[in-house]
Symmetry: C2
Subunit: 450 residues, 2 copies
């Protein structure tokens, strides 16, 4: 089961497509490859090839493949399907995944899908649709197996045997009252070693973790990680009624998205960035980020422009000034990245911010002094000028301290203002380190050289 397989399949399929061996590809896509690999194959294909592959998948297999595709890609295909095929495909979905997708399809389509359901399923689906995508309610599934506290283990076993299959990732049964109030869980690992005459109440776990429907998904992910959960019940915050359950497979997606979010945002990329998105879509998205950064660049240039006269007299300054800005940018990015991750992991709060700021300022000062010395020595040697060496050394120390200050406090401030630090942080930081870098270097030069 090597991971290399996806890329091998991709190579094989892409060669078959090119040579026109469509029958071979059709065979691979419809049963010969595991459906998860088919989904990955689509995901790793450029638009034209992706569309071609999709057309080679039999109608009856579409639902299964859609289930494993990233939402953004899946929805593109679903929008091209007629209602009948869509209905057939939707039967394959877990409730929670279907709800996520329905939220993004045109309303008329959604109505038709809902109309095709049994009354019970429709009611459940409508309940799921009422929760936002980024809350526990939007992540939960309704496939719970519930039992009452007063029955015996023996009866639980008989009850379970009446099912033809238990839902995937069932690691515990949920104990509820007659009015559906959540009372506790009965882990299968406990059930299996219990005395048949024990009642559920005797062996159920009542201090188990649970989730309320309006909790944000990031808290859900954190709870799963902290408590090593496979599944957790979701209850209504007020009535304490059981609404559904969340399973680790969906949480893993949240964890990956969260961990990737910072990296992608810092480069101005979307979370659900499709690596193989078509040209125009990619161009537009990238253009926005470049435009925002252009403002930064012009601000920096404006600052340089203030010292036109100084630059005119000492050209060495123009040669050296990018060093000051770049060292500040690098030092600042390191602090920023660390603090953004710390915030995402809920490690940074009022209790430790001042310690952190203090450490970063000292680290900035120490590294500032170290590299200022190195840069000054190199500069003195290069331009044969002790004065310029002192000036660049001073500017480096100043910029690294400002970089530490901005890198630490900026993300914390942005977070408090409700702005995503990963998205806005890097642009603002670069502006600060560029401006301070040019200002301190050219400013000091104006004072001491002219």
């Amino acid at each position: 089961m090597s991971e290399q397989t996806t890329l091998d399949h991709l190579q094989a399929v892409s060669e078959s497509l090119e040579s026109g061996a469509t029958a071979r590809v059709r065979y691979l896509l419809n049963g010969a490859l595991p459906v998860q690999d088919v989904a990955r194959l689509l995901e790793s294909s450029p638009p034209k090839e992706r569309k071609l592959l999709w057309e080679l998948i039999d109608d009856k297999n579409e639902g299964e493949v859609l289930q494993y595709l990233p939402e953004e890609i899946g929805i593109q295909f679903m929008k091209t399907m007629d209602t009948e095929r869509l209905l057939a495909a939707s039967e394959r979905f877990d409730n929670d995944d279907l709800a996520d997708i329905l939220q993004q399809l045109p309303e008329t389509l959604v109505k038709e899908v809902l109309a095709s359901m049994t009354a019970q399923n429709r009611a459940r689906m409508e309940a799921l649709l009422s929760y936002s995508d980024d809350t526990a309610g939007g992540l939960m599934n309704t496939d719970t197996i519930t039992i009452r506290p007063n029955i015996t283990v023996d009866i639980v076993f008989r009850f379970l045997r009446r099912h033809t299959q238990l839902p995937d990732m069932t690691d515990n049964l949920l104990v509820v009252s007659r009015s559906d109030r959540f009372l506790g869980t009965l882990p299968l690992t406990k059930l299996l070693v219990a005395d048949p005459s024990d009642t559920v109440r005797d062996i159920m776990v009542t201090d188990c973790p649970y989730i309320t429907a309006n909790q944000p998904v990031s808290e859900v992910a954190s709870l799963f990680e902290k408590m090593d959960l496979v599944s957790a019940p979701v209850i209504d915050a007020e009535s304490k009624k059981l609404l559904g359950r969340i399973t680790i497979d969906d949480v893993v997606d949240v964890i990956r998205d969260e961990a990737e979010h910072s990296m992608l945002s810092m480069a101005g990329l979307d979370d659900d960035e499709d690596t193989f998105a078509p040209i125009m879509q990619t161009t537009k998205r990238r253009a926005v980020w470049l435009g925002i950064n252009l403002i930064t660049a012009f601000i920096a240039s404006y600052v340089i422009g203030l010292f036109q006269n100084t630059l005119d007299q000492v050209v060495a300054l123009a040669i050296l000034m990018p060093i000051v800005a770049s060292m500040g940018g690098i030092a600042g990015s390191q602090v920023l990245t660390l603090v953004i991750r710390g915030i995402a992991l809920n490690q940074i709060g009022a209790a430790n911010t001042s310690w952190l700021l203090n450490r970063e300022l000292v680290v900035g000062l120490l590294n500032g002094l170290l590299w200022a010395t190195v840069i000054a020595a190199l500069t003195a040697f290069w331009f044969d000028s002790l004065e310029i060496a002192y000036i660049i050394a001073g500017a480096i120390v100043i910029n690294l301290i400002f970089a530490a200050l901005t890198g630490t406090l900026l993300p914390i401030l942005l977070k408090r203002l409700g702005i995503d630090p990963a998205l806005a942080g890097s642009v603002i930081l670069t502006t600060v380190t560029d401006v301070i870098g040019f200002l301190s270097f050219l400013g000091l030069a104006t004072i001491f050289l002219l």
Copy 2:
């Protein structure tokens, strides 16, 4: 169960510590707070406070807390413990976690820990210690529940009931031959609905995913994500004997580490970066990265220096040149980030590299043309010179195309050379976009202005 709690606890504990209310803190740390929260509290505390808190944890609770601490921090504490306390603490650990930690402790300590074990446990532990940290063998646990294929479901139930507890995350029983060869799995969800007179062979799953001991952990994570697994058996590649199992809680850690790796590496930070590491440790680690980037900065300055004469005559060039370098850097980082993620997710191979390169070049050209126009207009207006406007426009287009080329091919090349693209990629990319930016802008100016 709000995530805010960790930070609230932190605040409360840190206030209690300051006011000298040690008894209160001791109470919180030893039972009043869940052990996972205690671990998070330590993780989120600066060094001095962290050490103080650790000292307030009762000896008998140390093992539990250590279990939930990040390895780097846990090992620091373990190195200060005497052998007896270490032995007591180690009893709390799962085999796989203990093996990871033992690999990093001094050999004499390891020997004493091993000597204290029962013969069976020692043999198991020695086997685990033989696997590297980044393979499936290093991730697996030996707490499997195995059954034979020829027994009936009824006997399986009776066998399970002889246990006082089943291991956490037991979602299936592992079916093995008399010689311990892995034959298949029996999911609990199938066992519970089975007819008591069925044999294990009748209902077991034989085409289930399994892992071989030498597979890299990244493949394990990928398999778990793809197949939505809770646990998977680990077998010896040759003998097909069952060695142990890997559970999703350990895989989640791998997934988080992997996803964070790219972001942290791109900023030159370690994967296991301790947010609250002490000053000197932080300074040293950061200094290395700054030093590497200084080389980049000096290369860029050297390129600018080549055009000293040009800059001397047209000072506007010095003012504008950072814009060209910065736009290239931003555009390149976007491509680099996307490709690094694509490589990490195994999406990018020979079959789609040329399509990707082609798209990025076109996107680079389009965005180059768009922003070159905007920048040229602003420049013409600012410096009242059409010539400089044309020159900067040309430089922007050239640099954005080189940024696309480098951003796409560099990480793929580095990966083939066995160099981590996330770590080396950003430094090299910046060097390229700086050099090409300054070279094209100042070069064009030298040709057309002088």
